[in-house]
């Protein structure tokens, strides 16, 4: 695996460091509960935005343009008098859908690739892993942007581009898990007992290698939110009137001096989302480390 690029890009040191004196505990329930609450709130925003705000995200009231945050509009209003809180709430649907799609594409594509590559082994495995090495030599954001250049703009294409960029990471981790599971005695027993190879793959290898891959999906969720909003900030996401977290920050860019809330608050929502999902991913898999 290291033959091509010399150093394995993501795994620091001569292997995992499981024997560190005491694993740093990032709080217990005290931080997990707010994290789960945050994610629940965000999902609520995305699924039932009307429940959380009475304002229309697209309808402006120019007499109330650029009002600072207050009791009437929690996050203030933008240059057209649109309620920023309503735009963030409605924007969460687009942004989170793109995030889910991105992680889904990465998980499905990379998972399948890693599963087959690890299980079949041999020359196929070699070719797939060399490709993964090469893909991982290109920074994720740049890879996604190159894909966007081909696929075109829009929320769905941004999500696809981010997801395809994740395929390499998921393939690598899935393959490692499959290799680990494939050498275990129960898989050997299944082979020896005459179970056909596809059945072994589906009934024994898949379920037993799934947990770390799903934990990686939780980690990548935060990365996906960041990537999707960065691409949306750069202007490759939804077309203007539709709100996305990244494009909301970009729109506020022209009002940095007069209206701090337009950039600050949507960005804070992104930070809260990433932190909350990161905390939950740690709870799912205490061993999970950044594997980008």
């Amino acid at each position: 695996m290291t033959a091509l690029t010399g150093a394995p890009p993501a795994t620091p040191g001569p292997g995992p460091v499981p024997d560190a004196p005491r694993p740093p505990r990032h709080g217990g329930l005290a931080s997990l509960v707010p994290a789960v609450a945050t994610v629940a709130l965000l999902l609520g925003w995305a699924v039932l935005p009307a429940l959380f705000t009475g304002h229309d995200p697209l309808l402006g009231d120019t007499s109330r343009a650029l009002h600072p945050p207050g009791t009437q509009s929690w996050f203030g209003t933008d240059q057209l008098g649109r309620d920023l809180y309503a735009r963030v709430v409605h924007g969460s649907s687009l942004t989170l859908r793109a995030t889910f799609l991105a992680v889904g594409v990465g998980l499905a594509g990379g998972g399948l690739l890693g599963l087959v590559s690890g299980f079949v082994g041999g020359r196929l495995d070699g070719v797939v892993m060399r490709c993964v090495d090469v893909v991982q030599a290109i920074p994720g954001l740049l890879l996604s942007m190159a894909l966007i250049a081909v696929l075109g703009f829009g929320t769905v294409n941004v999500a696809l581009a981010v997801g395809l960029g994740f395929v390499a990471v998921f393939a690598r981790v899935t393959r490692a898990e499959v290799l680990r599971v494939s050498t275990s005695t129960y898989v050997e027993a299944a082979h020896a007992g005459g179970v056909r190879r596809p059945s072994v793959l589906v009934r024994h290898v898949l379920p037993n290698s799934a947990a770390p891959v799903l934990a990686l999906a939780a980690v990548q969720f935060g990365q996906a939110v960041l990537a999707v909003s960065a691409l949306s900030f750069l202007g490759f996401g939804a077309a203007p009137p539709a709100p996305e977290w990244g494009s909301l920050v970009a729109e506020g860019r022209d009002y940095l001096v007069t209206a701090w809330w337009l950039t600050t608050l949507p960005g804070l929502v992104v930070v809260a989302t990433v932190l909350a999902t990161h905390r939950i991913s740690q709870a799912l898999d205490p061993e999970a480390r950044r594997r980008t």
Binding site: P12, H26, V134, A146, R290
Partner: protein, 320 residues
């Protein structure tokens, strides 16, 4: 040592070739071809008759079968010709060479800042005797990773430039104008270094040689900075390739936020105009930077860690 370097150079060339092939497959074989994209995509719609389209296609060689295109493009790439930008007609290599110095300056400054900031945090977190301070220092890097770069940049402009009136905000190419972009760009890398180095320091400080050194009378600063840090820094060195990539990808966002010229701006313009040859050139540049960073680090290893021997043994098979 020389033989090792030669072999690694050869491997690097193979990676670059693979990156070229992969980007060719991605960019030129997917659904639409470059000419259709150029005419339909981008900001302004261009109308062309089928004859004009065919002529454009013939001029860029897109009417040839893929294998022929690939062979001729690869042949030209080997001579240093990556084609021309579809929008400006400027050679891709010239466009990249023109934009590279500004980004190199920005990324270099950010790299130094990343190492200082990340290293500082990691050492401070393991050196302090106050558990509360250590907890705060260890909680900050994950926060740094969670903050979108574009947002950090805008907040810095808002506070430092507009509220405090300290540093120039946008489009400034002087040294003072470099500070905020470099700080913004350095944060994700600094957070990464702080986390990896922090883990390394915790591991090293628990090892018996540290206790021995302390027992023999070495001071705390000496044990931390002289012994543990040196050993803990080795895994962090491996990050160089990832870090180089982070800096390049970060520059795309940072240069847009701060309206600076450079590779990042070139990238977003190229993607915005769906200028595939230029995009491919930049992807190749990224792969080259990654390969080069790893090559340098591999050659540096023996200097940092005398136990590493670059002799006849092959470094393969060390899969994580």
């Amino acid at each position: 040592m020389l033989r090792y370097a030669a072999r690694r150079l050869l491997q690097s060339a193979v990676v670059l070739w693979a990156a070229y092939t992969l980007s060719f497959a991605l960019l030129f074989l997917l659904p639409a071809d470059a000419v259709t994209l150029m005419l339909s995509g981008g900001a302004d719609e261009v109308f062309a008759s089928p004859e004009q389209e065919a002529e454009l296609r013939a001029r860029w060689g897109f009417d040839q079968p893929p294998a022929v295109q690939y062979a001729s493009l690869l042949g030209r790439a080997l001579t240093g010709d990556l084609g021309a930008s579809l929008t400006t007609g400027q050679p891709v290599t010239a466009a990249i060479a023109e934009a590279l110095p500004a980004t190199a300056q920005l990324a270099g400054t950010a790299l130094v800042l990343s190492i200082l900031l990340g290293g500082g945090f990691a050492v401070a977190a393991s050196y302090t005797r106050s558990p509360r301070l250590a907890r705060v220092l260890r909680a900050l890097p994950p926060l740094g990773v969670a903050m979108p770069t574009f947002w950090v940049g805008l907040i810095l402009i808002q506070v430092v430039s507009f509220q405090w009136g300290l540093l120039p905000a946008l489009g400034d190419t002087t040294a003072a104008g470099l500070v905020l972009p470099a700080v913004t760009l350095s944060l994700p890398g600094a957070a990464l270094i702080a986390q990896v180095l922090g883990t390394g320091l915790t591991t090293q400080l628990g090892l018996p040689y540290v206790a021995t050194a302390r027992a023999k009378g070495a001071s705390r600063p000496r044990v931390h900075l002289g012994h543990a840090l040196r050993n803990a820094a080795i895994p962090s060195l491996t990050l160089a390739g990832v870090l180089a990539g982070e800096l390049l990808a970060g520059a795309i966002v940072v240069e847009t936020v701060f309206s600076r010229p450079g590779i990042g701006r070139l990238t977003s313009t190229a993607v915005g105009a769906q200028d595939l040859p230029l995009v491919q050139g930049i992807v190749l540049l990224a792969a080259a930077v990654f390969v080069l960073a790893n090559l340098v680090v591999d050659l540096l290893y023996p200097l940092v860690d005398p136990r590493v021997d670059l002799g006849p043994r092959t470094p393969s098979g060390a899969a994580p």
